[in-house]
Symmetry: C2
Subunit: 108 residues, 2 copies
DNA sequence: TTTACTACTTTGTATTGCAAGGTACTGAAA
DNA sequence: TTTCAGTACCTTGCAATACAAAGTAGTAAA
């Protein structure tokens, strides 16, 4: 049995979706994202987010700006692009469809 | 944008969970599993399932028996073990928690 | 100038989904 | 008898990616 692993798989599946959703409400930098995810009981770490954000930026669904910080190095604030919003809308629908699919299997 | 990829990630996340759930109702061989998943609009292929079933068998959550077929080679029928049922129960709970987590992020 | 804190980045590893190709059994057609 | 079609299991190689861990660099206080 490898319960934690399987649970982790489920969390990974919705990671990009959640990040896009958070950034659709307000721009944020990595630390913000980690905290908001943690608030929703979804643990994610730096080493996961940096490459992921870069990937999403290269796909054109995110963009960023630098902002100076009073308490350390400058921060990279990410926000969603119009293309990203379009993608998020489709993902929301896919998410609902996935819930329907899984529930149909659970009730066989 | 890479919508299909992200949607695929979501599907992958629940794959093991769905297979366990299907096998908790009745034993099945690979072709059955592919069809039941397809019925629920979750596409999965042979090359994914064989290693996955083997993994789950090695973890002790599945077991199998051979059954002769009238129309070809013998089939490997998998079924869930008591340990697998215990895991499935926990995964059901995790799945509900994940829905709650994602919904909380969607409504930020 | 050293230490602490913060933040961004990269590297290496392990997992795993999947396309593609391989083996082998049955039964029907040539 | 040989060939072919259909079915089923299995393996190999590749690509994606989450994450631990280590690296770089900025600010500010001791």
């Amino acid at each position: 049995m490898n319960l934690e692993n399987t649970k982790a798989q489920m969390r990974k599946g919705v990671l990009e979706f959640c990040i896009l959703s958070i950034l659709s409400e307000d721009e944020a930098y990595v630390s913000d994202l980690i905290n908001k995810m943690k608030d929703a009981k979804l643990i994610v770490v730096e080493g996961t987010l940096y490459p992921l954000l870069n990937r999403l930026k290269n796909e054109g669904v995110l963009e960023y700006r630098w902002e100076e910080s009073k308490s350390g190095p400058p921060r990279k604030y990410y926000k969603i692009t119009p293309e990203g919003k379009a993608m998020l809308d489709e993902l929301k629908q896919s998410w609902q469809e996935l819930i329907t699919s899984v529930n149909s299997i659970l009730s066989i």
